[in-house]
Symmetry: D2
Subunit: 396 residues, 4 copies
């Protein structure tokens, strides 16, 4: 029993240290100003991500579970709580970019302080607190992805189109022909069960009855998207959901986010600056509205979440992970028997089950060990600053 | 064969005549001004409903299918098209209240003209056109309900709280104790099949796999809702969806729509003017956000659409129809294999499958022959000017 | 003394009766619906004008000064108070179009009731109350103009372009060449003094020191405005005030309000329906922003209020009255020594002295006996639904 | 002639160098993040001020007048043009906080480059270009004040209430009794004439005819403002302009900007952090609406611009300069005979003559040699993030 705990601690310690270090690595190329600016209410400054993930460990682990621990700075609770009503009031989300203080260096000092305390405390933590450390690491991995996508949005607003790094992640190309992979339908089980980590919303694992269907073998490419544009996709209201067409008209949408027409083609903003599109790379920064309209134009439809998950292990399907999050037509909703986690972290997922759609897979910006078949990402249908793309589906 | 057609025609003719007459009956108590005003973009003037339903028959049946028919007034197409992109441009939805012309009398004259033409044409219409007449009658029934709820909203904005009719529809009281009715789960079939009329979105009928659950035997009452309020339901963020709490805070929501505190209780606006609430009547004019928060407060949840439909025939469940539409936790989405109807009426349902929730049953304002088990009504989660209420569910 | 009072009463009675009758005449062509709709927050329904002017007499004259008078309907105070904080709370301005009740006929009955009461009371009213009757008549004359301009705006929003009357007022043409009439400057007196009626803001009469200047002999014509458009006036930011250019860009302004391009020219909306513009008629429905930009384009400027008033009697200047209100570059502000009227009517003018510009003269919709040299009309610089036009000025 | 030019150059060189150095001194306490954030569209980041003032010299002096000069970075024109339509397109004003690049250090390098170039070029510049250097220095002085007030606003939004410097400027206290200083009226001359520098809007000097009046001997104090609050000043609509009351209600205004109730008094945000108010210091961060309401409450009024200027030299009046800008009731408008400066800098003032009110004097944040009697500062009536205060006036 003791040895098991020790080895678990070792592994958790390692996971914690690696996760915390990875955030620092991601922030390394950023100036204090880069790390402090907020380009839209949906996005947060990199410094805020670094701080909020630290707040998570301090608030949910150290303060309640480490005897004698004192908060580094009591004012930080107000500044870096995201949306936990149970954890008290907080700064308005759209004002995060006004926090030029604490400086990036002060936030990094806070991280050092918390990391050292947690490292000392880890062996003595009760299981429930250790589970929160695990959750906190997965939470931080989510914010690592957001740090990159939020930064990309910020840099896209700068006419200088700054380069975050020449070695930036981007969805890899796949020049294969598009094919269909069939599934016979029937009862399948989806959702998480067993020992590994999963968020509460992935549970309970449960059976679902499917009709026969097929999934596209790869993601829709930039070349295919350009054809959709050239065919008047953004000017044909009957291709769009009612809310989607209203969005197109209000925001004058004519292409994926970040695309700009250049002589002889299109460019897009990347973490390595503005680049010509790679025609064989998957189209990305696509809203649900666009994904749905494209699928209709293509004579297909978007997958249901259970369909995607039922075929997730098939080797014939490429780009399931590591390229783009894939919109499903499934609203983000509770699985039968779903129970939110106990305590404040019960606000993590359940309260967002309204108006959002599930995305499956993972993207080029997702930490590799963060992806799994049962993962349920979710965004509103107009949002597209994540690395989102389209895999087609059809009834058969 | 001929006789079958005649008898069908007779029946359709009867349905058409009765439907068209019922709209006139509903509008009879209204002045020209009452019938022309629009209290919010979501609602339409009664006159507009009378005109739009007429436009439907003229545009989709008479013009294409009755040789020699000429539109009563070509300008009306622009004024009274609701949202059919295929049928051309249209007046902005929020400007319908500015159409003081054509006067109510002119719209009624148009109705007479169209009714007479369709009566003459009916026997000679091809089957597809006859199906559109049927659809147009069901469409008009939907607008009959909207005419009443939109009028109620308009009158609620008038400090004089006008009475539409003393003999107004309202959800009937049920003083029975609340009970739970269990269902064992398993595969059930939902959706429409067979000969009777249904909207495209109710098809195809298909199997669904359910977990065991129970439904509440009756709707939540005004008395229960008042307890929720007294218990701080509208001041407790952890009871609410994230979007719901934002809505509560932004709109300063503290009670169902139309409720006002009076000495010693609550009043509400009805089609018979402002009245004290009936404690045993079902709580109504409830948003999805409120329904969901109430259910959480009550230690229960909202039903899924398939759960509701699977138990719809049970005699142990009261108020399934004719009282209040009942929010489900199911997003309005395509059934497996769904195909929108052909032609412009394909815009009727499918393009709204985003961001809305299904309501089952029917309300006191629904024409009685318009209700059925497979019916799928849908609204956005903040909307509550319909006669919407809450039936609880729980896992077992 | 008594005889003076009697003759004054006779005259005031006559003025009161004529004014009240004129409002009825203006409303005669309107349906209940026409009279009840509100096309924008700035405009009010005709019925509301009929009611508000009645409320003025009831609230400020009859209730306080006629022993035993009882308000016709106590609820009307809330409905028909415009902006008098001293007179209690009131319906939000943008909701006036929701008052389908009281019906037009009920408002007319109220008018009859108040008119009869005031007719009976008039001889016995104290001087202060009689002064309020006079004020109320001038107040009603202002609303008579607004009734027409608000109706024009309402009808302009109706794609049917309804005709209010074929015999509608419009600014008369003047085909004379444009000339300049010089003034040597020096000390002039402006503002009201003496016995006749004036609003408080026109007082006190006071000296002003002017530099030499000249005024245009007539208003700017539609032909001249079309040249401004053709010369790129609406696409040249350096012609515009900063706020004006922001308005042009935000609202995509390309021509005066109501103008539409037709084959071979322009049409505009009038109280007689949509008509081709009369090239020799004065350009109207012009905002201050447009007036100022036009003047800059023309190498001229707008008049100052005192300049306009100093030359108001000159026979060489045409269209000073009865065509279009004429924008001045003078902000609406207190004259030196200005004191608001005592009591609630002190809110009539003074509290609007911020952000608005003075217009001089009168328009084709102004009751003829309502115009005078000292009159100070005022609107915000973006507003243009009144009959507003441009007279040029320049330094010499 | 040559010697005059040399000595003038010497003096202009000195002014230029001192002005440019002062901006650097003001920015010295700021981090890159502090200098890059934008707290509202009205305010700009400190880095942007440093860059924009540099752009002014590069665009209007060096590029057109220094042979062979090449812009440091051609992209900066788009980033740092403020509102000069003649100088081409520019970044949206509300996006200035997204420019995390160029970094502060890069902007400082640009400053060094431009300063060196201008230092070399100065002796050879034609008179018109030298006049633009002078204008550019006064322009930079304006931005020095804005740098401080914009930073104060940014820091006020940070719950940590950062200290810019302990040695911060603030409006000095004056415990003297309030007295009235009379002026007999008559013709006075206002506006600029002669050799010294003035902005175009201060010219031409011209006579104005005044009525007798008196000015308050000092500014309204914090103690007096607290009394206004305690007396219900912010809850009494009849004290307010109509637009002012709408602003109070919409923004829930209950005190000057930055004031917070503390136990036993009020605190306010300063450049030295949050501090208790000094009761004898002048009330500051006051909107025109508040200034006007306070004056009405006090039985007084705000001065007219000409009144203030006519008495500006009187030794009996304290705090005319160096404490708070003083709202006048005069709209910012063209003086008779006003001609905007030639070229792009003609956009400097004239196009803002709409909807704004003149403020006279200067504030604790104004460079001392920037103030003069004829100075015309201007802001919209709701704006109050400058060091604005109230001097009373009255008719006599």
């Amino acid at each position: 029993m003791a040895s098991r705990t020790v080895s678990q601690s070792a592994s958790l310690r390692e996971f914690f240290r690696a996760t915390r270090q990875h955030s620092l690595d991601l922030a390394a190329p950023l100036s204090d100003a880069d790390a402090s600016a907020q380009s839209m209410p949906d996005a947060s400054p990199a410094k805020w991500h670094l701080a909020h993930t630290t707040w998570f460990f301090e608030t949910f682990v150290l303060t309640p579970h480490m005897p004698g621990y004192r908060a580094f700075n009591p004012a930080y609770g107000f500044l870096f709580n995201s949306y936990y009503e149970s954890a008290g009031p907080r700064l308005r989300r759209d004002r995060r970019g006004l926090l030029t203080r604490p400086a990036l260096a002060e936030v990094l000092a806070w991280r050092t302080h918390v990391d050292a305390a947690l490292d000392r405390a880890l062996d003595d933590l009760p299981d429930a607190a250790r589970a929160l450390v695990t959750l906190g690491c997965h939470h931080e991995q989510q914010h690592q992805e957001l740090l990159l996508t939020d930064l990309l949005h910020l840099f896209s607003e700068n006419p200088l189109a700054p380069v975050y790094t020449e070695d930036a992640p981007f969805p890899a190309a796949n020049a294969d022909a598009h094919d269909w992979l069939a599934h016979p339908g029937g009862i399948v089980s989806i959702g998480h069960a067993g020992d590994g980590f999963a968020f509460d919303c992935e549970t309970p694992r449960h059976p679902v009855l499917l009709q026969p269907f097929a999934l596209g073998s790869r993601l829709v490419t930039n070349a295919e998207w350009a054809t959709f544009i050239d065919d008047g996709g953004y000017r044909t209201p009957t291709l769009w959901l009612s809310d989607g067409w209203a969005w197109v008209e209000r925001d004058d949408v004519t292409a994926p986010l970040y695309w700009q027409r250049e002589d002889g083609g299109w460019s897009t903003m990347t973490l390595a600056g503005r680049r010509s599109i790679d025609t064989a790379a998957p189209a990305t920064h696509i809203s649900y509205f666009e994904a749905d309209a494209f699928a209709r134009w293509a004579g297909a439809r978007l997958p249901r979440e259970a369909e995607w998950e039922a075929m997730a292990g098939s080797p014939a399907l490429s780009q399931m992970f590591g390229a783009c999050w894939q919109w499903t037509q499934s609203a983000y909703a509770a699985y039968p028997g779903f129970q939110p986690a106990a305590g404040a972290v019960g606000e993590y997922n359940g309260k967002f089950m309204c108006g959002q759609f599930v995305l499956k897979g993972s993207s080029c910006a997702t930490p590799a060990d963060h992806a799994r078949n049962t993962y349920r990402n979710f965004f509103y249908p107009h949002q597209r600053w994540q690395f989102t793309g389209v895999r087609l589906a059809k009834d058969i």
